[in-house]
């Protein structure tokens, strides 16, 4: 019995020492002036790891590029990376980054649950939180002082998507008030946020929604959804999907011989390389609404264009494929954070200076590779984030809308029947 309790005490002591170690060592090394530490959180394991890893590389490449160009005011940037696959891990790792690594800026993250938790802790601890991917509206609606989101929020995303649908409807001679719209969305936070945005906008615009269906993105077989779309006989379909279900919806549309006049996909489901790869010629003409992943370099500022080109090269070398949208979002958000916020504030030590620098940002729409600009509103939401329409043409994604981002003409609008494609 005594032995057992000693065993326990030893075990516990070792745990305490271990946690003590990890808390004491970095504190000694964290002298100011040597490096600027930035916390990078992404889900690098677990079910969100697909896009989490792409986003991580976007951030990492931006930091590497700034460092190679001499850092910020002679100081190198050090990325303190944490794997955050769920909300509990967010609580733990964000506290570690703040308490032990003494970071003053944290950037992330793919996954809204983790973003919520991370943003809350950062705000309470007076650390700048720089969100670049999560879209749930609520993140910037809680009166946080030090939370900024570079990416568009769900309701704006939905609104812009509905606007794009409207403009294409007009193009093919449909009266927007008479056209019928079907909205199908995966039932996670991403799909739901966007569906709400689409719904709000179409109500205002007077367009009729004939089907508003949520589905579970882990569905193996999407034929019921496609059949529902078919039965609704809508002119325009707006579908928010992840990749497996996105591919399957397209496949099943072909199998069931279903082609609406306009089909607008949203999200990674229709824009990832895997989509083109597994559908090949069937992907032709499919439209994906997202910030563009095919920037037109000649429209960008020459310096920016060079940086973007370098990013594209490095991303491909690191991951083996062209950067998807999340890679660009992470890269440009980190790029702005380092070059426009931290550089202006002269480092990360002064939170007020960083917030001021962020609030004063005034970057024109179209300046960043995804076509976004930067202008934060009071809540910390970027009001100049934009989405674009991309289309699969000859096995590649090209941007067809809006005009200032387009590098190709839209084809197959309205969509022809499958046997005529």
């Amino acid at each position: 019995m005594k032995k057992l309790s000693w065993f326990l005490i030893l075990m516990l002591a070792s745990v305490t020492v271990l946690s003590g170690c990890s808390s004491s060592t970095p504190a000694n090394t964290a002298k100011p002036a040597e490096v600027i530490k930035i916390g990078v959180i992404q889900p690098r394991s677990g079910p969100l790891a697909v896009s989490g890893e792409d986003s991580y590389w976007g951030t990492k490449i931006a930091i590497d590029m700034v460092n190679e160009a001499g850092g910020i005011k002679g100081k190198k940037i050090e990325a303190v990376v944490a794997d955050v696959p769920n909300a509990g891990a967010a609580q733990n790792e964000v506290n570690r980054l703040i308490q032990n690594e003494k970071v003053k800026v944290i950037t992330g993250i793919y996954g809204s649950a983790m973003a919520e938790v991370a943003a809350g802790i950062c705000n309470r601890n007076e650390v700048l939180y720089w969100e670049h991917i999560s879209v749930t509206d609520r993140l910037t609606k809680q009166g946080y002082k030090s939370v900024f989101r570079m990416h568009i929020n769900g309701s704006l995303f939905g609104e812009q998507a509905a606007q794009i649908a409207e403009s294409y409807a007009k193009k093919i001679g449909l009266d927007p008030t008479k056209a019928t719209v079907a909205v199908v969305s995966e039932n996670g936070d991403f799909g739901k946020s966007i569906a709400a945005g689409v719904d709000a906008y179409t109500k205002k615009a007077g367009t009729k929604i004939v089907l508003n269906e949520l589905y579970d993105s882990k569905t193996t077989d999407t034929s019921p959804i496609v059949l529902k779309l078919k039965a609704s006989n809508a002119d325009i379909v707006i579908a928010t999907s992840y990749i497996n279900d996105g591919i399957d919806i397209t496949k099943k549309s072909k199998v069931l011989d279903y082609s609406p006049k306009i089909f607008l996909g949203i999200g990674s489901g229709y824009g990832l390389a895997a989509y083109g790869k597994s559908l090949e010629k069937d992907a032709e003409g499919m439209i994906d609404l997202d910030p563009t992943s095919t920037p037109v370099l000649k429209n960008l500022d020459p310096n920016m264009a060079k940086a973007v080109e370098e990013f594209q090269k490095r991303f491909k070398a690191a991951r083996g494929y062209d950067s998807p949208t999340v890679g660009y979002l992470a890269w440009q958000a980190t790029w702005v954070l380092l070059n426009n916020v931290i550089a202006t504030a002269g480092g990360t030590d002064n939170l007020a200076a960083m917030i001021k620098a962020a609030k004063e940002l005034d970057i024109k729409v179209g300046s960043l590779p995804t076509g976004a600009g930067v202008k934060f509103d009071e809540s910390g939401q970027n009001t100049r984030a934009v989405i674009s329409a991309m289309q699969w043409q000859k096995g590649k994604l090209v941007t067809i809308y809006p005009d200032y981002l387009a590098n190709a003409q839209g084809i197959m609008i309205p969509l022809p029947a499958w046997n005529k494609r």
């Binding site: 057992l4 326990l8 005490i9 002591a13 946690s19 394991s45 570690r96 809350g120």
Partner: protein
Amino acid sequence: MRSFLSHKKSDYFICAAVMLLLSLGLLSSNKYTLDILITTVYFCTIASAWNIMCGYTGQLSLGHGAFLGLAQYTSTLLYTKMDISPWLGMLAGGLTAMLLALLVGVLALRLKGPFFALATIALTTILEIFAVKFDGITGGSVGITIPYNPSLGNMIFKDYQPTYFLFLCLLALVLLTTIYISRSRLGSNLVAIRENDLTAASLGINVFRNQLYALMISSFFTGVVGTLYAQYVLFIDPAGSFSVIVSEKAALISIIGGAGTVFGPLIGGILLAPTEIFLRTWLGSTYQGAYLIVYGVVLIFVILTIPNGIAGTVSAYIRKCNCKTEQASGDD
């Protein structure tokens, strides 16, 4: 009979020692250290609650996430929508979890082995689907953010020490309950059922009713700790609350530590919860997923080599020593 019935005093002693050591953490003000401790105590508590039902009856529940999530949603909705203090919400959450346990018990307790486990997994998934579906009430898949208004009444604190203190109190309460049960008639009935339910029934033990009591007590504490954790993280969503993974962890911690012993889940939690965090911090930023490989291999190894868990194995060893010394001294 298993060791815990013959080692009552040692149970008190060991639990008190461990609790005392854990409470040393209250002296720290480092939020990261405290978070590790809170997470550890959180898992110790869930595992101990799980142990009351599953360790003592031998039924494998992988659905404690259902109780946890239901209680979290109950207390959070009461707090955010009706402004009812989480202190009451915690109780309400525990009670709704108990009601669910009653339902589960009546329907599923007669299932054995993998089928009880599968039924509880299915139940968790069904609740998750409903939490997503009925978004008018639950907020849907986007989850609920609990507004940060630190005060004692809101059970939200600026620092982590008060939260940690609450977790420790709850763990102590669960452990005391476990000790009480293991000494009570209920405890000996449960063990008799675990060892052989037919024999137990033939001795006049009401198998079903005893298991149901255990399940309800277990689910109550699972619900209460769920509320506490929700008030700590300040965010809940269906995927995180109704998670099969949390249930799996509770089971693994309990079984590796030694299911059916009072302090087994405590040992398991203290060993595994920080290990997972350190492995993730250490390997997570370099090799994707590598920490889970290490974790998985360790789990398999432990289960294969010491199937009775650490506490079971160690106390068996000690009993053997004691027997020898007793024989040697001729003492009874």
